[in-house]
């Protein structure tokens, strides 16, 4: 057998297997770290990375897509077919519908089913005969996932009305195109009627003739069409959305690495313990002829063992966790970005390689220093000294100097701008702050142990004194464990503060912004990018109610600006209703509102301004009503509704270019003297049979906060994993400590210590570690939260968030972590109590 393997098996593997619990804890810590990276990667890929614009369903055979904000005049098609080239055009209606008015939004696509092209599109055999169009009443063809059958009657909510259709066939998925299995297809005429777009098209798919490049045909068509129409390659909308989701995924991925960073500290600790424990063995093996390289490799192999086994288990855990994560991420994507349908979770070779590579790299890197340390053990010295207590050389002053440098560099890095909209320097700054804090921890531990020792002894007793001395006596180990847990605590605290601050900011913003008494929108769980409309007469009739003082109409269109999705909206900007809008400091709200209705002016939301580098005075060119229109930006306002951002113009300005007065939302202001409930009853009467939801001010806010909380659940889940990894590390390290200090515990039993006292010493140590880590973690977490709020969030998403301490949340989280840390001492405590003191002392 290979001698290297024999040495590894005898010197490394056997000792590891002799302590199965501790080995398992370390392996599991790595597995969780790797698992969470894999889970987030898989779930992120499924929920956001594989994003496919639902409205681009069934465009697979088109090369180009012609579209226009507010729709395309149907007559354009007549002109297009006269072009002297063999283009094939597929007119389309694209809308979302809700089956029976409930559940997820389903893409409702209108196609010209009489044409043979369209029949191809919805798969041969699905539309058995064009005659179906004539014989079936309002026929639709449905995706296979909807569970419907030919002949079923379905009721679909489109905009604010319910429409009845008959299923004429089920689409057979052919090439696994995402989103196709839940699409609903109707003939274009029927779709136009159902969506209220008679005479209009949402887009026209184009198949270009062979012989020329796509670019050539794109340019050609652009020249032939009014400048307001966009001609983009098929899939462009999907690409735009993917681009928008990239920052979100990037930040999520970074969060998923925290557990791995915490794991790195624990690997470092585990290997360090191994080295110290086997000093004597190293000495013997060196004396027997092993060279330094072999010793280094042996300990690196130990780390590799943790990395390989941990990563392998991590793959399985990650796949399982991805199932839960995909739902959470899907929620966030839906609430903040775009309607989406998560793709199936699929391992990709690259994803697996990255995660496993990271697991191995982190394990090896973390083990480098202790492995090198092991190789420097001089044989004679090691054998003479025997097994040594674990005392890492702590060069306090040097470490403090390093800490100051690292913290200063970290602080400096936060001032640097983003790189391609990614806050890369800010994340590097976070690493520097973590490193700086880790460097200062030994000094903090020493200071704490020095000053608090007698106080704790008085408060708790001799157990606290012994625990404190032990922590101080093995300051290297204590510092690493404190650092690992402190990082997990800091990340939890920082994300908690960031989310809490964001929540408070949104809540305050809603207080200012949402001043109306009642809000109306079409029913159905629409995502942020969907803007179903309500009949015009609803707004008109409500405005005429005697108890209503004002009605704010709001109409939104999804648009593309500089290759990224955004929303163009028109709203009533009377002084009375818009007075609550908050603009960035230095901007005169009254003046802005007065000018907004006077011409081609717009205000933009803060995320839009940040994303597109737009400010007051900038001019936005928007393709509207057959031409490119130029809007001057009058101001930037605070908004937390959508990350993609808003361009808002006056209602009348919007109507001038897009004269479709149906509204997406309505805000109703009830006269102070009137009873809101009575007005609401009148509004219910106006709505009649239409599927429109009415919310009171309080309900709307509560709903928004609920959505907010759902959105950030994933971040809490990630923090929880990091904390679990850290606590498992603490349990493993305490177990190692118990084994290393068995002589001390045995001696204490000889000196009259009762078993509960021994257990208390270990719980005290766990408690002190928890206390230190929580204290340091909270401080570091606060610093990191400032970076998250004022740098990373600003550079990634562009929101202004006011700092706020979410005290109950922090208290609950820190108490939970503290209790978990103390509980992590239970098993090691039990192990210490079970040891036979006579055997231990005899063995010594």
């Amino acid at each position: 057998m290979n001698s290297g393997w024999l040495l590894f098996e005898r010197l490394i593997l056997r000792p590891l297997l002799r302590e199965p619990v501790r080995t398992a804890l370390t392996v599991f810590a790595v597995a969780l770290g790797v698992g969470v990276v894999i889970a987030i990667d898989l779930a992120g890929q499924a929920a956001a990375g594989s994003f496919h614009s639902s409205l681009e369903s069934l465009t697979g055979k088109d090369d180009l897509l012609i579209s226009n904000t507010g729709g395309i005049d149907q007559n354009l098609l007549g002109r297009l077919v006269q072009l002297p080239y063999a283009f094939r055009f597929s007119p389309r209606i694209e809308k979302f519908a809700f089956l029976n008015g409930k559940g997820e939004a389903l893409p409702f696509i209108g196609l010209d089913l009489i044409s043979s092209d369209a029949q191809d599109e919805i798969r041969p055999g699905a539309l058995s005969h064009a005659a179906d169009l004539l014989t079936t009443g309002d026929p639709v063809w449905v995706g296979s996932r909807l569970g419907l059958h030919k002949g079923d009657h379905v009721r679909l909510l489109i905009n604010d009305a319910l429409h009845d259709f008959t299923v004429a066939g089920v689409l057979k998925p052919q090439n696994g195109e995402i989103g196709e299995e839940n699409v609903i297809v109707a003939d274009i005429g029927l779709a136009q009627k159902a969506t209220g777009k008679t005479g209009k098209l949402d887009s026209i798919g184009v198949r270009v003739p062979p012989g020329q490049t796509l670019g050539f045909w794109t340019d050609y068509l652009r020249k032939q069409l009014p400048s307001s129409l966009s001609v983009e390659p098929q899939g462009a909308r999907t690409e735009e959305n993917r681009k928008m989701l990239a920052a979100f995924r990037w930040n999520l991925r970074i969060l998923s690495y925290i557990a791995l960073v915490v794991g790195a500290f624990l690997i470092y600790n585990t290997i360090s313990i191994s080295v110290v424990r086997r000093r004597n063995e190293i000495g013997i093996v060196r004396a027997l002829g092993a060279d330094r390289r072999l010793i280094t490799f042996a300990f690196l192999a130990e780390a590799l063992f943790f990395g390989v086994v941990g990563s392998a288990i991590g793959l399985v855990i990650g796949r399982a966790m991805a199932v839960g994560a995909v739902g959470l991420i899907g929620n966030t994507v839906q609430a903040l970005y775009v309607s989406s349908q998560p793709a199936p979770i699929e391992f990709t070779a690259l994803g697996v390689l990255t995660a496993v590579g990271l697991g191995l790299a982190v394990s090896l890197l973390a083990a480098l220093a202790p492995a090198f340390e092991a190789s420097r053990v001089a044989p004679v010295e090691a054998m003479a000294r025997g097994r040594e207590e674990y005392v890492a050389a702590v060069r306090s002053r040097v470490m403090v100097a390093w800490a100051i440098i690292l913290l200063a560099v970290g602080a400096g890095l936060t001032n640097l701008p983003p790189v391609h909209r990614q806050p890369i320097f800010a994340y590097i700054a976070v690493l520097f702050l973590i490193a700086g804090t880790s460097a200062i921890i030994p000094s903090v531990v020493a200071l704490f142990a020095g000053t608090a020792s007698s106080l704790l002894e008085r408060l708790i007793g001799v157990e606290a004194l012994l625990a404190m001395r032990s922590l101080r006596g093995s300051i290297g180990r204590t510092s690493i464990l404190t650092a690992a847990l402190a990082i997990a605590v800091a990340m939890t605290a920082s994300v908690g503060i960031m989310v809490g601050s964001f929540r408070e900011t949104v809540s305050l913003w809603m207080n200012d912004q949402l001043r109306a008494d009642l809000y109306l929108r079409p029913a159905g769980l629409s995502a942020i990018d969907q803007h179903p409309t309500m009949s015009l007469e609803i707004a008109e009739q409500i405005a005429k109610l005697p108890g209503v003082s004002a009605v704010d109409r709001f109409r939104a269109y999804p648009i593309t600006y500089q290759g990224l999705p955004a929303t163009l909206a028109g709203t009533d900007t009377t002084f009375e209703t818009s007075a609550s809008t908050k603009f960035l400091p230095g901007e005169n709200r009254d003046q802005i509102l007065r000018r907004l209705s006077a011409g081609d002016y717009a205000v933009v939301s803060e995320p839009f301004a940040n994303k597109h580098n737009v400010h007051t005075g900038s001019v936005l060119t928007l393709p509207l009503a057959r031409a490119e229109r130029r809007f001057t930006v009058l101001g930037v306002y605070y908004d937390y509704a959508a990350e993609s951002g808003y361009i808002v113009v006056d209602w009348n300005t919007l109507m001038r270019y897009l004269p479709d007065p149906e509204v997406s939302n309505l805000a109703v202001y009830v006269k102070p003297s009137e009873d809101i409930t009575a007005v609401r009853r009148q509004i219910d009467g106006i709505i009649g049979g239409r599927a429109v939801l009415v919310f009171s001010n309080a309900t709307l806010r509560a709903g928004a906060i609920a959505t907010f909380d759902r959105t950030f659940r994933i971040t809490y889940a990630l923090e929880a994993v990091a904390v679990i990894v850290a606590v498992m590390g603490i349990a493993g390290a305490l177990l190692a400590m118990v084994i290393d200090r068995r002589r001390e515990f045995a001696l204490l039993r000889f000196l009259g210590a009762a078993k509960p006292q021994i257990r208390r010493i270990i719980l005290c140590e766990a408690g002190l570690l928890g206390l230190l880590a929580n204290g340091i973690g909270l401080l570091l977490g606060t610093a990191l939260s400032l970076i998250l709020i004022f740098v990373i969030n600003k550079q990634s998403f562009g929101w202004t968030i006011q700092f706020h301490w979410p005290v109950p949340l922090l208290l609950a989280a820190l108490t939970g972590i503290y209790l978990a840390t103390v509980l992590a001492g239970l098993y090691p405590g039990q192990t210490a109590v079970r040891m036979n003191p006579i055997e231990v002392i005899h063995e010594e």
Partner: protein
């Protein structure tokens, strides 16, 4: 009543291969203030007997009575209490806690027993072993002899009636060993403590009141020197 009575005690350890009898039918009594030396080869059962006498372990057969209390009838908590109040241990390798100073090591049994004025008593005991000026030093700052003196102070700090010493000079050079031994016997005498010492040293044996020889777990020979 004798301070310590060991009646027909046997101790069998269960190992993976076969049971090993460490003590076979041993009986002895020790009175207050008596110095008993235990001699015999390594593995003869000296340490096992000391552990049984110190209420650290139970006999497989027979019984051990300390101050009239049979250890076999006591719970773990009661045994712990008994050790705290009546027994002091001294080990060959000193067994001081490296994270504690000399005086902290000495006061440890008092702290574990929640005895008040622990520090004052500990300092007094250090004075008795001529180590008061080293009170605030850590073990690694002390020589072997000094460490063993601290260990003696610790063993006496709670006024035990029985002092059990397992090769207390085994790790010391001859001169230091002699000094430590003189100190130990003097302290035992001053505190009127019964001292049972496992030893290989003839010098140590010479100072004992009685010598018991153990061979293969049996008490083979008893010699009364004084």
């Amino acid at each position: 009543m004798a301070l310590l009575e060991v009646r027909n005690v046997s101790k069998v350890y269960r190992t993976q291969s076969a049971p090993v009898a460490a003590l076979r039918n041993v009986s002895l009594t020790v009175d207050c203030g008596e110095f008993v030396a235990l001699v015999g080869k390594s593995g003869g059962g000296k340490s096992t007997l000391l552990n049984l006498c110190g209420a650290m372990d139970f006999p497989t057969a027979g019984e051990v009575l300390i101050d009239g209390q049979a250890t076999s009838n006591l719970s773990d908590a009661a045994l712990t209490r008994l050790r705290r109040e009546r027994v002091g241990f001294i080990f060959q390798s000193f067994q001081l806690l490296h994270t504690l100073t000399a005086v902290e090591n000495v006061e440890l049994p008092l702290l574990l027993a929640r005895t008040p004025n622990a520090r004052t008593i500990a300092r007094e005991r250090l004075y008795r072993v001529e180590m008061e000026e080293y009170a605030d030093r850590f073990p690694h700052q002390l020589s072997g002899g000094q460490q063993q003196r601290v260990a003696i102070a610790r063993a006496l700090v709670h006024d035990p009636k029985l002092l059990l010493a397992d090769e207390p000079t085994g790790n010391l050079d001859t001169a230091t060993g002699e000094t430590v031994l003189a100190l130990l016997t003097r302290a035992a005498h001053d505190f009127e403590v019964a001292l049972i010492m496992a030893t290989h040293s003839n010098e140590n044996v010479a100072l004992a009141d009685r010598v018991l020889q153990l061979r293969d777990g049996r008490l083979e020979h008893t010699a009364v020197l004084r």
